[in-house]
Amino acid sequence: MLLILCPYCQSRRAELEFRNVGAAHISRPSDPQTTTDAQWGEFLYQRDNPKGRIAERWLHIHGCGRYFNAIRDTISDVFVTTYKSGEPPPAMPSEAKP
């Protein structure tokens, strides 16, 4: 079973306790009134689908109930790291995007 380190509980818990809640670090446009349909569509629907490392939001729903962020490898399913919401994503120089 896949174990995920919850940055709030500070313990490794079974994947069953968690939910994936999509891509991380996507901010809602601050002023929707002046946002074009294209920009709003981009915010709602356009997501990267990388082969390799991706920053995702996860929810420890059957645990502490908190959202946090994780860097996961979509090929191997390895959780590279997890960190609290609001913290910047850790630098990953070896996996930098071209």
Binding site: Y8, C9, Q10, R13, A14, H62, C64
Partner: protein, 176 residues
């Protein structure tokens, strides 16, 4: 053979509250509650005897989430005390007395029975005395708190109570 000393019993009627509060408010709440709320996440604290007058339980299940459990008859009084003490504080106090049912699983096979449905490691080194956390048991969410080496307090949503009892009974058969 399953050890006949291992028993699943119902907790007595209880009043339950969920308190969401920051550290400062937590200290205020502890002062009137008569029991300091745990500082560490996934920890439980208690005083008195379960269901008996004056018994108090405080479980920290999230970074700012506490469950306060007291005898049913004292629920209204505790709520009034907390309401007064926490007036003006940014916090939430919700009565969830009837949302859940409580169980006590005790005896030499208690940890083994829990392991039949829960992915947590119930070895004392991984799940020490006083640890309390939400997790999953078969297909339901539950809260498990280790009160002694062989004594676990469990809370599940009311409608899942019969399911939990049935799954523990099923697990007992596997021990034969």
């Amino acid at each position: 053979m399953p050890d006949s000393a291992t028993m699943l019993t119902n907790a007595p009627p209880l009043a339950r509250f969920v308190l969401r509060a920051d550290a400062e408010t937590t200290i205020k709440a502890g002062a009137v509650y008569g029991l300091d709320l745990p500082l560490t996440i996934n920890q439980g604290a208690s005083k008195g005897e379960r269901g008996k007058p004056g018994a108090r339980v405080a479980l920290k299940l999230g970074p700012d989430e506490f469950w306060l459990i007291v005898p049913e008859a004292e629920g209204a009084g505790v709520r009034a005390l907390l309401d007064t003490a926490l007036a003006g504080c940014v916090c939430a106090l919700v009565d969830v007395s009837h949302r859940q049912v409580g169980f006590v699983l005790s005896g030499p096979d208690a940890a083994t029975l829990l392991s039949s449905g829960c992915p947590l490691d119930f070895d004392l080194r991984a799940f020490p005395l006083g640890m309390a956390t939400r997790s999953v048991f078969d297909k339901i969410e539950f809260m498990v708190w280790r009160m002694a080496q062989d004594v676990f307090r469990i809370e599940v949503a009311r409608s899942f109570g019969p399911y939990f009892e049935a799954m523990i009974a099923e697990a007992r058969h596997d021990l034969v």
